[in-house]
């Protein structure tokens, strides 16, 4: 292992440009003749669009065009798709209403676009958008699942009677009922997972350029998966055939899932660029992001857990209502089903599980995957249940968990997943040691002496990453495979370019992927460049989400590297007149074992390209590609422990200690892994304490800026205490499990369990604001 190989804390290569203002983001793209788009958006949550009068706007300075949904329809631009078909338990396919990029007839959430103004400057477009007069006929709105399912609820889509998208189930209902009928104890809870707004640092942006000379389009966009974007734009939205459409996702400043999807704005900019024959830029402002970026979570669940007399779990029954918002976003259907209910076994032996999930339309922003996507909801539900059960039984929550842990692998859960490897006791032990569990009573007493309520809460999470085996997800309804691609190009001078289908938007691939090459060839990471994010440069790939880039993306690179290395060995053996089996690669040199013969990798590469002296029949060049399709999900897991102190007079919660003990399998760069965990923990603690999306009953988004939506800041967070235990993932060549989402998945229940422990009151919803906590302490109804 070299100094920059696998396992080394190498400083991120990409940070130089990010921290010196040299990053190249979509909004940095400036083209000759570029125009600017501004969208006219509905102020109503549900209304008929009666008329749109753009005459005044068209007369304003710099205005080039005002385009509406009716023109989109006339030009046969396709409606937005949902790429994962989920069937209801009665076998019927999910019921979806049409999702146009701009609403021609009916708006169904505040912020939905009805028209776009194209003007010479951004300010001219904004001003003109104000002059577009839209007449609406208001309709009643429903923003919550309960409101949307009421008998007199407004109906959003004629295709989905009762606003129901699907009524899905998983598991064995009969076996679960039997388990409950024989139970000694049943614990039941109503659990809400609050709606979140993703808030990546960089807002979404798109630059579309129609080249009439080539009749081709280029789109720069804030995407986590540019090839998927091109495929969908081409195959479903009728923008242009794939070979006439180039999608570039340059530096992207965070995504958290919200940039997986192809949004109306990209579609409209591409279509409009062709129409006005000019390049068009659109960049979201922050409130537009609140109003249009796919939101996350928003589950309401009833859960029951059955235990035997010895407190072993017998069964779990869950009924979850998922708020999908007004339209089905690209992967929304899979989030509360296959990414959620399949994780309801957690780290525990649960012989019988039955989960029902009802997907519901409401007059809110569409909801889709957000960091964790389904797994945070499953973890929150289970870990709140386990802590509650322990309190009801008078048991130590650690003991109850340990008693029910899965300890032998592989383990087949009742909900599809086969856990391949893990050691849950090891991460629990590491966490207990780090937190000094035995010392907690003394810390609690000391806090009480200071007038503070101290509490401790646990969360033993598991998630499924390395998304995903194509055949498996295909059988579950996915419209795409979830393999990954790579091409390793060795240049004649021995430097290496890796073209990956993964996309980096903060993950540090330029460093970690280069570390893999360094590990294999012994060359420095400065000799390696990672190329991604451009459909004209990189072969088709599936992008980055679901903590898949290490486990799946790097596995594809490993496969391509295997081929490169095999050919290079042949060349080196030929040149050094040695047996191929005697070639050893070390420190950037190819050596003949047992001799002093050696040659630098650069000379092997050069020989491959000069072609002067290659083995008979060998093609020149040194460049290989590979596709890797995983055989299983990966299963990162761990234990998080949170300690809080609460000021009973104000209800303010302070997270005073937070231990995370994770098993991510092999870590390529522990520093980057820790950064991922830090970010995930901040988001999870943000969800637990601060972040809440509030709609008024009539559908106005009341939390549409940082004045009303509280993001976590450094002073809301403790210095995290991170630990790792390791069981390698047997499913991929590097043994990687993935670390991108764990922090956000595992932390919310640890925080709420700690708060409820501190105040001795088990009923607490997220975000646990000071008002709610104070009200719980003082036995009052919380003022919302």
């Amino acid at each position: 292992m070299g100094m920059e190989g696998i396992g080394q804390r190498v400083v991120r290569k990409e940070d130089k440009r990010f921290i010196t203002g040299k990053g190249k983001y979509t909004d940095d793209v400036k083209l000759v003749g570029m125009t600017h788009a501004h969208f006219v958006r509905s102020p109503h949550a549900h209304a008929k669009v009666v008329s749109i009068d753009s005459a005044a706007a068209l007369a304003m300075p710099g205005v080039i065009a005002v385009l509406t949904g009716a023109e989109l329809v006339a030009d046969r631009i396709g409606n937005l798709i949902c790429g994962w078909m989920v069937h209801s338990k009665d076998g019927s396919p999910m019921k979806m209403g049409a999702y146009p990029a701009m609403a021609p007839e009916t708006v169904r959430y505040v912020g939905q676009a009805v028209a776009v103004v194209i003007a010479e400057t951004k300010n001219q477009a904004r001003d003109a958008a104000e002059a577009v007069t839209v007449e609406y006929e208001e309709l009643p709105a429903a923003t919550t699942v309960a409101a949307a399912l009421a008998s007199d609820a407004p109906q959003l889509h004629p295709e989905a009677p009762g606003n129901r998208v699907y009524e899905w189930s998983i598991g064995d209902k009969a076996a679960t009922e039997t388990a409950f009928s024989g139970a000694a104890h049943v614990v039941s809870m109503d659990i809400t997972n609050n709606r979140l707004v993703p808030n990546p640092m960089e807002p979404r942006s798109a630059v579309a350029n129609y080249d009439s000379g080539d009749d081709a389009l280029t789109l720069w966009t804030t995407s986590q998966n540019p090839h998927v974007a091109r495929l969908v734009l081409s195959a479903f939205y009728n923008i242009a055939p794939e070979h006439k459409l180039r999608v570039i996702a340059p530096d992207v400043g965070g995504g958290f899932g919200s940039k997986i999807y192809i949004y109306p704005e990209e579609i409209v900019c591409l279509w409009a660029s062709r129409k006005v024959n000019r390049p068009i830029k659109w960049t979201s402002d922050r409130t537009e992001a609140f109003l249009t970026d796919a939101h996350g979570r928003d589950h309401v669940s009833k859960a029951e857990m059955a235990f035997d007399a010895d407190h072993k779990i017998l069964g779990l029954r869950v009924h979850t209502y998922a708020n999908f918002g007004a339209y089905m976003s690209l992967f929304s259907s899979s989030v509360p089903t296959y990414l959620y209910a399949t994780l309801l076994s957690g780290q525990y032996v649960i012989p019988a599980i039955y989960a029902e999930v009802d997907g519901v339309y409401t007059n809110t922003v569409p909801v889709d995957a957000y960091r964790g996507a389904g797994r945070p909801e499953a973890t929150y539900l289970l870990e709140r249940m386990m802590e509650t059960a322990a309190r009801q039984f008078g048991l130590d929550p650690v003991d109850l968990r340990r008693k029910n842990f899965i300890t032998s692998f592989p383990y087949q859960t009742p909900v599809i997943m086969t856990y391949d490897a893990g050691d849950y006791n090891a991460s629990l032990d590491a966490a207990l040691k780090a937190i000094d569990y035995a010392g907690f009573p003394a810390r609690k007493a000391a806090a009480a002496a200071r007038g503070k309520l101290r509490g401790i809460g646990f969360s033993c999470y598991i998630e499924a990453c390395g998304i995903a085996p194509s055949k498996a997800v295909g059988s579950l309804g996915a419209g795409v495979g979830l393999w990954e691609s790579a091409e390793v190009r060795v240049n004649p001078v021995g430097t290496v370019e890796v073209l990956t289908g993964s996309h980096s938007h903060g993950q540090g691939h330029e460093t970690t992927f280069a570390q893999l090459i360094s590990e294999r060839l012994g060359i420095g990471i400065d000799q390696v460049s990672i190329v991604h994010g451009d459909t004209d440069k990189v072969q088709f790939g599936m992008g980055t989400y679901g903590s898949r880039s290490g486990a799946v993306g790097m596995s594809a690179i490993v496969k391509a590297m295997d081929k490169v290395e095999a050919k290079a060995r042949k060349i080196a053996a030929h040149l050094m007149e040695a047996a191929e089996g005697d070639i050893v690669i070390e420190g950037g040199e190819f050596k003949v074992a047992g001799t002093d013969k050696k040659m630098p990798f650069a000379l092997v590469a050069l020989a491959a390209y000069t072609g002067h002296n290659l083995p008979d029949g060998m093609e020149p060049g040194l460049k290989e590609g590979a596709f890797y399709d995983p055989t299983n999900f990966t299963f990162p897991a761990g234990t998080y422990v949170c300690e809080v102190e609460i000021d009973a007079d104000t209800g303010k919660t302070e997270v005073v200690n937070f231990v995370a003990a994770d098993d991510f399998g092999r870590m390529i760069n522990p520093m980057i892994v820790e950064g991922q965990v830090h970010g995930g923990l901040a988001q999870g603690i943000g969800q637990a304490l601060l972040e809440g999306t509030v709609y008024s009953d009539d559908g106005q988004l009341m939390t549409a800026s940082y004045m009303d939506y509280c993001m976590p800041r450094a002073d809301d967070l403790p210095s995290f205490d991170l630990h790792h235990t390791t069981t390698l993932c047997p499913g991929n060549p590097l043994g990687i499990k993935g670390c991108g989402e764990a922090g956000a998945i595992g932390s919310p229940p640890a925080v709420i369990n700690a708060i409820t422990d501190a105040i001795g009151h088990n009923d607490m919803s997220m975000p646990a604001t000071p008002a709610k906590v104070w009200a719980a302490i003082h036995g009052r109804a919380a003022a919302e």
């Binding site: 109503h44 505040v110 104000e130 007069t133 609140f290 106005q700 549409a704």
Partner: protein, 225 residues
């Protein structure tokens, strides 16, 4: 949201009435009012530039008067469109009673706001409406009362902000027509909501609308007369 309040105008009812009959005075009193036109004796249109926190927009509004009992009371309802800034709509019951040498104006209003106003301005609407109401009545008192100022001790804005729980009855009877522009000849300009549009919904108050409503109401009155 719902709200109610009262203001004491330091002028006898006749004088208040006269002022209410003077569009120029009303226009001068409504903060940011650029135009104020009567479309009919029970309908008027107005254009008002309002700034609520970060949202600044020109609102055009249309206002309707109903249940008019000449010098005593009426119900006013209306809506204002602020383009990309959103909308506001609502209604209010307004009553005038003599109070010594002055006149007491009491209102109860309900309002709803939407769009950017609700997204960014909701938490600022109380204070903005209070400010606008203060400005309106200060100016109105000055113009109608000839300057006398001691008026509302506690009354002014402070009173206006006292939320009145029940009294849902307010605009109830009258609102329908307001929502239906057809009710009135579409003559002249755009809608009218006098000053500002009404305010927000969902439990968040919006005074703007009130101010607007009040202004409108006053206007209406005058018309009525």
């Amino acid at each position: 949201m719902e709200m109610s309040g009262e203001y004491r105008i330091p002028a006898p009812r006749e004088k208040v009435w006269a002022a209410l009959n003077d569009p120029a005075i009303l226009k001068a009193c409504i903060p940011g009012c650029e135009s104020l036109d009567m479309a009919s004796p029970t309908e008027m249109t107005a254009k008002v530039v309002a700034k609520i926190g970060p949202v600044k927009a020109t609102f055009t509004g249309k206002v309707h008067l109903n249940d008019i009992v000449p010098p005593e009371s009426y119900t006013i309802s209306g809506e204002g469109q602020g383009g990309v800034a959103g909308f506001a709509k609502g209604g209010a019951e307004v009553k005038l009673t003599p109070d010594g040498a002055g006149t007491l104006l009491v209102y109860h209003a309900k309002a709803q706001i939407g769009g950017k106003l609700a997204q960014l301005g909701a938490r600022l609407i109380d204070s903005t409406a209070k400010m606008m109401a203060d400005q309106f009545f200060a100016k109105f008192a000055e113009l109608a009362g000839g300057g006398a100022e001691d008026e509302t001790d506690t009354a002014p804005a402070a009173a206006a902000v006292s939320a009145a729980p029940a009294s849902a009855g307010t605009a109830a009877p009258a609102p329908a027509p307001a929502a239906t522009p057809a009710a009135a000849p579409r003559t002249s300009a755009p809608p009218a909501g006098a000053a500002t549009p009404p305010a927000k919904s969902g439990g968040i108050p919006s005074w703007i609308w009130i101010v607007a409503a009040l202004a409108l109401a006053l206007i209406v009155w005058k018309l009525k007369a």
